[in-house]
Structure formats: structure tokens, C-alpha cells
Amino acid sequence: MSDGAMAFEFDLDAAPEKVWRALTVPALLERWLLPEGGKAAGLDAPVETELLEADPPRSLSWRWREAGQDDDLVSVTLTPNEAGGTALKLVHMRRAFALPEPANGNSVMMLLRAA
């Protein structure tokens, strides 16, 4: 895990190509992540997203901005798994993290646990 970013990994029962459609076709995306108006379930404010990079059906990244908040970066990587499905890896980071790795390698996450 890079400095302070949150990383998640999920196994999905669908091939990467199908998962890719759910991630990129607006009519599908709004059914699980971003309903019309951008007010995602579980968040206080609407989210504005912008697709920054897309390498179908392997990886994409979104600029992710909750109204009134700073820009975040959400990156998704899809890898076929042994069961014929997809391993989905998601990394969510604040833009402040897009800095060079500190030389001493201490992470903010470690610091949070220690504090």
C-alpha cells in the first residue's frame, strides 16, 4: 500500500470484459455507483467524476470529487482470476498523496495505527 491511500481487493463472478462494461457504460455505472445526480449511497454530498485514464478491460482511473471536498483519485485494476472471474483492485487516494514516496518509507497508515 502506498502512503496513506486505501486499497481494496474484491473477487467478482464475472469476466473482466463484463466488469469493464459495468464500470464504463453510464447506464450501468449509475446502477451500482453513481445514480443520476451523482449522489452515491452512503455519502453526504454528490460526487463528480471524470474518467482520466482507461485501458480496456484492464485498468481505469477517475478523478473523484465530493462536493465541497478536494479532488481524490480512484484507480481500478481488473485481473482475470483462477475461477474465471475477476480480481478487482481499487485504490482510493487523496491528491495530497500524489507526491514522491518519502525516503524513510514510513507510511501514514502505519502512523495512524501507532497513534
Partner: protein, 104 residues
């Protein structure tokens, strides 16, 4: 937003070292500089950034200023992480449901 200020403050290795040192207890700037190759103005600037992010507080006693860790300084960052560590697994749960309903 304050989370970003916290992260920026802690992204610098020197500031992180200062913050970790203060976790052991309150110190003045001279005590903080002990064992570090850092000028006094640089230390003052790092402390100002840490204070600006709400991570460090200062207490004046006459001419002496003692710095200490703000007890709730990391809370905004923890809240942000708590929110999204719940958000993404729930959304992926919805994605799994959608994948079952989609055509191949």
C-alpha cells in the same frame, strides 16, 4: 479540506519525524531539533505547517513555547478513511448484484 492539510503535513519526512517525536511528549523547538540536522527557521516553518493542519498545538509559558500533539488532530483523516472503508465494499456489493442481472 483539513484531511488534505493533514496528509500534506505528514507527507514530508522531516515533519513526520517531528510529529512522531512529539508523540512521546511536549517539547520546545530546541529539544525537537536535538539529533536532527535542521535550522531553527526551518523547524519553525515545519511546526507552523503542523499547527496549520491541526496536528500540533503550542503553549506559551513566558518566553518559552512548548509544542505538543493535538489529541484529536488525526480525527478528520480517520473519519474520511472510515467513510470510504465502508463505502467501497457496499458499492462493490451492489456491483455484484448488477453483474448477476447483466447479459453476458
Amino acid at each position: 479540506m483539513i484531511e488534505t492539510e493533514i496528509l500534506k503535513a505528514l507527507a514530508d519526512p522531516t515533519r513526520r519525524a517531528v510529529f512522531e517525536k512529539l508523540n512521546a511528549g511536549a517539547m520546545n523547538a530546541t529539544e525537537l531539533r536535538a539529533g536532527m540536522t535542521i535550522s531553527q527557521p526551518a523547524m519553525s516553518q515545519h511546526l507552523a505547517v503542523l499547527r496549520g493542519a491541526g496536528l500540533v498545538t503550542e503553549e506559551r509559558a513566558g518566553r518559552a513555547i512548548r509544542y505538543s500533539v493535538a489529541p484529536d488532530g488525526l480525527n478528520p483523516l480517520r473519519d474520511w478513511m472510515t467513510k470510504y472503508s465502508r463505502f467501497w465494499p457496499e458499492r462493490i456489493g451492489d456491483l455484484k448484484t448488477l453483474l448477476k442481472e447483466m447479459d453476458e
